[in-house]
């Protein structure tokens, strides 16, 4: 992925980017509601601060304190902000008048929200669904390969994307990134990811949800027909769809998952007593 960058990185820059890559994985280590990922952010930035500010202790301390400020975004998408942050600290070291500390904070803060939104939606609604879908289908047959594939696909894409974005953020600069956000590219990626997620969720509803009923209805003339067969004649797996969209309707009505679970338990037990299931 590095070779897509035009700029040649020096060994010390590469070393610092590697440091940021690995230490940014520790963002949950001191995650609190006060600073969220802020305290780890400063730790990731330490070698950068030492490199760009060198002996200028005053600016270095200012940058150190500034980087402990509140920060929170998706842990993989954070790579873009960190790379950008590296480039900005370097600019500030060259010309502290032109690039103020506030300006760097503002750029960080303005990227946090959109990156969290796109990161959460791509990872939780798309990549995780696909990785888990593959993992679930193998693991439910007792095959441990499902677990390794899940961690490999989901964790692997997480790390690869972080590394890519980190390098991208450092090399392309603020203007290009702003332009990309304004061009609507984020919406396009999000649409594509949502479609992919929806296909996977649809297939998983079919393979994972099980609901069946032996209920029979009299068809007249002594003939009986299993109710479920009639439904399945309309579209196979009809009951699964009814169940799923029933749940979706409840969620839209702001039901908490725990209440839906209770409801399903009651339906299951009452239904089994009445012979519906």
């Amino acid at each position: 992925m590095e070779n897509t960058q035009k700029k040649q990185l020096t060994p010390i820059e590469k070393k610092n980017l590697r440091h940021m890559f690995w230490t940014s994985g520790q963002m949950w280590g001191d995650f609190t509601m006060v600073k969220m990922e802020g305290n780890t952010y400063a730790y990731c930035m330490l070698p950068i601060i030492n490199e760009v500010y060198g002996d200028n202790k005053e600016l270095a301390t200012e940058a150190f304190v500034r980087n402990t400020e509140f920060f929170n975004t998706h842990a993989s998408a954070a790579g873009l902000v960190m790379g950008l942050s590296y480039a900005l600290e370097r600019e500030r070291a060259h010309d502290p008048e032109a690039v103020s500390g506030e300006m760097i904070t503002n750029i960080k803060t303005s990227l946090m929200g959109p990156l969290a939104a796109i990161g959460d939606s791509i990872f939780f609604n798309c990549i995780r669904v696909i990785a888990a879908g593959i993992g679930i289908s193998l693991a439910s047959q007792g095959n441990p390969l499902g677990v390794f594939l899940f961690v490999g696909i989901y964790g692997g894409i997480f790390l690869a994307l972080k590394w890519y974005l980190l390098n991208l953020g450092y090399t392309v600069g603020t203007a290009t990134i702003k332009k990309a956000f304004e061009s609507g590219i984020i919406q396009t990626i999000s649409d594509a990811a949502c479609a992919m997620g929806l296909v996977m969720v649809g297939s998983l509803v079919s393979s994972m949800v099980s609901i069946s009923s032996p209920l029979k209805v009299a068809m007249g003339g002594g003939a009986e027909m299993v109710l479920q067969d009639i439904f399945d004649g309309i579209i196979p797996g009809f009951l699964k769809l009814v169940l799923l969209f029933g749940i979706v309707a409840l969620i839209r009505k702001k039901w908490k998952p725990i209440w839906i679970i209770m409801l399903i338990l009651v339906i299951g037990v009452v239904g089994s007593v009445l012979g519906v299931f």
Binding site: M33, G142, F150, I258, I260, G268, F277
Partner: protein, 266 residues
């Protein structure tokens, strides 16, 4: 294996998972699939762990830590039910039904312990203001290895030791109609995670793709991998088409380069 032995083994396992997560932040190793498998492995019943992990992953699929807040903890919500099934032969459906409430309770207990985490937070600001980098880094690792995982580890130990041991009795007292009912319910419970997920990503524009996936699996009987490849192709098509429309609309000559780069991500 006695309950206390198992509790100690699983507590150590839980600590390892917490630390692994604190060093990777990748959301992969605290998910039910991984935790279920590892719990099964530690207790000598890999298969149960895998099967339950798969079902619980489906339930937890829609539940994510958006903005750092999560309604039910997937890690303990998997560890404790799987341990209960393997150690006390609790009915699997009953254990799965209990998973989300257990995860929520553990979450509450964890939140109660958060003052411990907040207590040393002021030190970060102090060390930063002094530009004392060594002390700052030391404090950071103290958090990663001890302060953050410790309260949770103790809670899990107590839950396993005091809670799981008593589940066996309850299980023996369950009548057949209740077990049948829970069985039927557990097949439907997995729909909750999918329901949450569907309600989050559903849009009028894209909703039809849900049915594409459903039909591919239900009517054509395709395997998950095959469907994933078709899904990827659909995603790429949507990206190229929408992108093409935007380019044709003109006015975005510059971002084209960016788009080509972003394209290589998927």
């Amino acid at each position: 294996m006695s309950v206390i032995q198992a509790a100690i083994i699983l507590t150590i396992m839980n600590y390892v998972i917490s630390v692994l997560d604190n060093f990777m932040a990748w959301d992969a190793t605290w998910r039910p699939l991984f935790v279920g498998w590892l719990t099964g492995l530690c207790l000598g019943d890999q298969k149960t762990g895998l099967i339950m992990g798969a079902q619980l992953e489906a339930i937890y699929m829609g539940i994510s830590a958006i903005g750092g807040v999560i309604p039910s903890d997937p890690e303990s919500g998997t560890l404790i039910p799987v341990a209960a099934v393997i150690l006390t032969h609790t009915d699997m459906s009953a254990a799965i039904a209990l998973a989300i409430p257990v995860g929520t309770l553990i979450n509450y207990a964890n939140t109660l312990c958060s003052p411990i985490q907040l207590a040393f937070l002021g030190l970060y600001d102090k060390y930063a203001a002094e530009n004392n980098q060594k002390a700052y880094v030391r404090l950071h690792y103290l958090y990663c290895l001890l302060i953050t995982p410790l309260p949770r580890t103790l809670i899990i130990f107590l839950a396993l030791w005091l809670g799981v041991g008593n589940l066996g009795g309850i299980n023996n007292a369950m009548p057949l109609w209740l077990i049948n009912g829970l069985d039927a319910a557990s097949g439907m419970l997995v729909a909750i995670g999918f329901g949450i997920l569907t309600s989050m990503i559903w849009s009028k524009k894209l909703g039809i793709f849900f049915f594409v996936g459903f039909v591919l699996a239900e009517m054509l009987g395709l395997k998950t991998i095959g469907i994933a490849i078709i899904a990827l192709a659909i995603a790429i098509s949507i990206f190229l088409i929408e992108n093409g429309i935007k380019q044709a609309a003109g006015s975005h000559a510059e971002p084209v380069k960016e788009e080509a780069k972003e394209d290589s991500l998927f």
